[in-house]
């Protein structure tokens, strides 16, 4: 009686000739309206079963481990920071989705093989507590450089890049901005992100393990942070966080309580792909098509607080009113991320945590 009907369906029909269920494996943050998923069923005859498999990194790793005997048909939620690991491990099989042309070419990584399809993008940026800076009559920081200034001493809380994807995004943002200052651990040779982080450290940056802790416990601008008497008015979060703050307040305020430092952003794109060994590849393909359909793309922003990738999607009013468009986010090629990630995290750890 615990399981859903889909669960029983899957158990009963796995191995059957034409499964009516298509299984989407994703991370915990996946969300879609019921109506939208029903729409998919109406269009294709397939029912979607969603399996949530931990946070983004964990979910990808699990797919890697179960390569060849995956838990589902489609995986959604691998972003550009993890893309290479997923591709190198061969968990996806190529599929060229219908409607791909509606997506800007810059987002379409793996263009040759089409193993993954971009679904959404978002920006990891520093958020600030508007009230704090208004009270202090201080201008909120706008760029990476600002964050290292003495005026903002002891104000920033960031996430551990090893444990948290916004943390990693922020680190990659600084690396994209300042470049790699050297490969030797600890004693950094001249410049690069390592130098920048030394300054941040000197400026009292605080690190916690997860976004939840940073945002709900330390950040003074969020509801949780207020109750917990959080004393950091700057936090690494998403560009979409301010509109969401508005969405989930009652009554909804006229202006968002938090703002975004637009010069501190790193762009994250999330992809979906057909899993190698999928039991229902037909359904999987249909689902991937659906993920970039206008129906899904329009629904997505308010479900997962990310930006659509197709150019025909309309952004909800909430986003246009309370959100900001990041013109020049930092970006980095997945291959470079794949090459450097471990090393950088190691360096970062000894630089900031020790």
């Amino acid at each position: 009686a615990c399981g859903t009907d889909d669960a029983r369906d899957a158990a009963g029909k796995s191995g059957g000739p034409a499964p009516k269920t298509v299984t989407l494996v994703s991370h915990d943050s996946f969300n879609a309206s019921k109506e939208v998923l029903a729409e998919f069923t109406r269009q294709t005859g397939f029912t979607v079963r969603v399996l949530k498999s931990g946070d983004a990194g964990e979910a990808v790793n699990k797919e890697i481990l179960t390569k060849g005997a995956p838990q589902g048909d489609v995986f959604f939620g691998v972003d550009n920071t993890l893309l290479s690991r997923a591709l190198d491990n061969g968990i996806f099989v190529p599929y060229e989705a219908k409607g791909l042309d509606r997506i800007p070419a810059a987002l379409r990584l793996d263009k040759e093989q089409h193993r993954v399809t971009p679904v959404d993008s978002g920006d990891i940026c520093v958020n600030y507590d508007k009230k704090y800076f208004a009270d202090k009559k201080l201008a909120p920081p706008q760029t990476f450089d600002d964050l290292a200034k003495p005026a903002y001493k002891d104000l920033l809380v960031v996430e551990n890049p090893e444990r948290s994807s916004p943390g990693l995004g922020f680190l990659l943002g600084t690396a994209a901005k300042y470049g790699d200052g050297g490969t030797s651990q600890g004693e950094a040779s001249g410049g690069g992100w390592q130098d920048y982080w030394k300054k941040l450290k000197a400026n009292g940056v605080k690190t916690v393990d997860s976004w939840e802790l940073a945002y709900n416990q330390e950040f003074s601008g969020s509801a949780g942070g207020k109750k917990a008497k959080g004393d950091r008015p700057l936090v690494v979060s998403y560009a979409s966080s301010p509109p969401v703050e508005v969405l989930y307040s009652e009554p909804q305020p006229k202006v968002a309580p938090t703002g975004v430092s637009t010069g501190t952003c790193f762009r994250q794109t999330e992809f979906a792909g057909l899993l190698n060994g999928a039991k229902n590849p037909e359904g999987g393909k249909a689902l991937i098509d659906f993920l970039i359909s206008k129906t899904f793309q329009d629904d997505m922003p308010l479900q997962m607080f990310v930006n659509p990738v197709t150019n025909d999607a309309t952004l909800p009013e909430l986003f246009t009113k309370h959100g900001v468009v990041i013109d020049k986010p930092e970006t980095m090629a997945p291959e470079k991320i794949a090459e450097k990630r471990e090393q950088w995290i190691g360096q970062w750890t000894s630089l900031v945590l020790k």
Binding site: A1, L65, A69, E162, D231, E250
Partner: protein
């Protein structure tokens, strides 16, 4: 015996062995045993090992120190509200560690309650970790030790008193040795819990502190460094194995048949200043250490921007701004209860059978099995979870996406509880009572039902309560099991906390409060079951 062994083999040993094998034989053929030396000489790993060990020892000692008086008071004193208190102390057990951390920080952290009252501020760091461990594990001691304690014949202590032993001395020389196995069991469980503490260390310790568990998590889930994780898992195995061996050895020498009496007969109203003072002290420590943090969560669930109110609770029942329930409240509660009941059922069945088998039989093999049963408490949930993924992937055991996997994973943690709470009592049951039943015509099975079961019923209910609470609050195992989208309470709480917005935070608090209430009410119901059927037949 067969069922527990099978259960254990399929749902623990096989997955763990597979994942460790994967780590040590990346190509599927060659063992890379060199990894051991490599990993175990890294100074950061050594630091982690050392920290894990000492914080666990310290936490265990502190928990025993604080909770043993509590166990005594709850076992031997009669006072109004005792049952509620017993349920309340178990509540921390069901709370997602995020909540525990939050509550604790609100109490002892920056500008927390104690900071404002007395300037006591433990912020993050070792003390916060230790105290939170006490908070978390108080119930383990109260329940395992208290369960036996309340059934010890008080006349043994009286015998010591008339021989000139003071109250304290009588306790130390007569009661403590009799309680020994239960205390050891409790200590063992607390040790295993705190040694593999994950959320609390992460939240209260910050990124600078890491234990073996967080390290294994990091290596497995984040970095997919299975080889390092495998080495660490082996270390964990070795450590847990050693502890279990020591435990088994010390306990075996201690276990004797005791005269057990029904708990109702041993509890008295406190008399004399000393006893009232003790009661007061215990109540105070419970209030401070357990009720206050829980109270903080309740307070937060009620504090809305426009003053205190039930807005967040109401919001849980409402459709959110985007037209869907983020967390369908009743579904979530029902789901949680169903999972927890299933897990409790499995744990009680498997654990009960194992405990029964372990009481009757002796010998190396059986003792080894006893120790093995405890391993799930000491082995990282991530190891088991990832193990599930790579082993249970073929029919008929392709359970990876089946709902049953959640209660199964939870039962893995519940079984050791059941075994450890029941064994000390079962082993204390005088064999001659079973003989008495036999000469009155009871078959061995019937004798077990008629003699052991009533005597261990209390322990069994305690164990069931534990298993229930553990699964109700269990997050570690469930997050590794991919689950169809029907969240349990803790998962829903986590999901709410995963989003910005005051309403989400408030609802998370409200949901935590509901979780606490559900837990407390379930445990109270369980306790009621206990007393309604004590005398006479059933």
């Amino acid at each position: 015996m067969l069922l527990p062994v099978a259960f254990f083999a399929v749902f623990f040993a096989w997955p763990v062995v597979s994942i460790v094998g994967r780590g040590l034989r990346p190509d599927g053929r060659h063992w890379e045993l060199g990894r051991f030396g490599e990993t175990l000489t890294r100074p950061d790993i050594l630091d982690v090992l050392w920290f894990t060990l000492w914080q666990a020892l310290a936490s265990t000692a502190l928990t025993l120190l604080v909770a043993l008086p509590g166990a005594y008071v709850l076992a031997r004193f009669d006072f109004p509200g005792k049952r509620i208190l017993r349920a309340v102390v178990t509540v921390p057990f069901v709370l997602p560690t995020v909540m525990v951390g939050t509550a604790f920080l609100a109490l002892v952290g920056r500008r927390g309650l104690l900071d404002e009252l007395w300037g006591v501020r433990l912020d993050t760091g070792v003390w916060a970790i230790l105290l939170a461990h006490v908070f978390f594990n108080y119930a383990v001691v109260v329940r395992t030790v208290g369960g036996l304690w309340s059934q010890l014949d008080p006349r043994q202590e009286e015998a010591a008193r008339v021989l000139g032993a003071s109250r304290w001395r009588a306790w130390r020389t007569v009661t403590l040795p009799a309680l020994g196995p239960a205390v050891a069991a409790a200590a063992l469980m607390v040790f295993l819990f705190t040694a593999s503490s994950f959320g609390i260390v992460q939240i209260l310790g910050g990124p600078a502190y890491s234990t073996l568990e967080t390290e294994i998590y990091r290596q497995t889930a984040d970095r997919l460094q299975l080889s390092t994780a495998a080495v660490l898992t082996m270390v964990q195995f070795a450590a847990v194995g050693t502890i279990l061996a020591v435990h088994a050895r010390t306990v075996r020498r201690r276990e004797t048949a005791l005269r057990l009496v029904p708990p109702e007969r041993t509890a008295r109203r406190p008399c004399g200043a000393g006893q009232w003072a003790l009661l007061g002290a215990v109540l105070l420590s419970i209030a401070l250490l357990i009720v206050a943090p829980l109270g903080v969560l309740v307070e937060r669930s009620l504090a809305t921007p426009s003053g205190y109110g039930l807005d967040y609770f109401r919001a849980l029942g409402h459709v959110d701004g985007t037209g869907t329930f983020l967390v369908p409240l009743t579904d979530t509660v029902v789901n949680s209860l169903q999972y927890a009941l299933a897990a409790t059922g499995i744990a009680v069945l498997v654990g009960g059978l194992a405990a029964a088998a372990l009481t009757r039989r002796a010998g190396r093999l059986v003792r080894g099995f006893d120790a093995l049963l405890m391993l799930p408490l000491g082995v990282s949930a991530v190891t088991v979870g990832f193990g599930f993924l790579i082993t249970l992937d073929e029919p008929p055991l392709d359970l990876r996406a089946s709902w049953i996997l959640v209660p199964l994973a939870q039962a893995l943690v519940g079984v050791p509880f059941v075994v450890r709470t029941m064994l000390p009592v079962l082993r204390a049951v005088d064999e001659r009572l079973r003989e008495a039943a036999a000469v009155l015509g009871a078959s061995p099975w019937r004798a077990w039902r008629e003699v052991d079961l009533p005597l261990v019923r209390r322990a069994l209910l305690i164990a069931a309560g534990f298993a229930f609470a553990v699964s109700l609050g269990e997050f570690g195992a469930t997050v590794f099991v991919a689950r169809p989208d029907n969240p349990t309470l803790p998962v829903a709480v986590a999901r709410l906390l995963n989003r910005p917005g005051e309403l989400n935070y408030g609802q998370a608090m409200a949901l935590s409060t509901i979780l606490m209430v559900v837990c407390a009410v379930s445990l109270l119901l369980l306790e009621r079951l206990r007393t309604d059927r004590t005398s006479g037949e059933f």
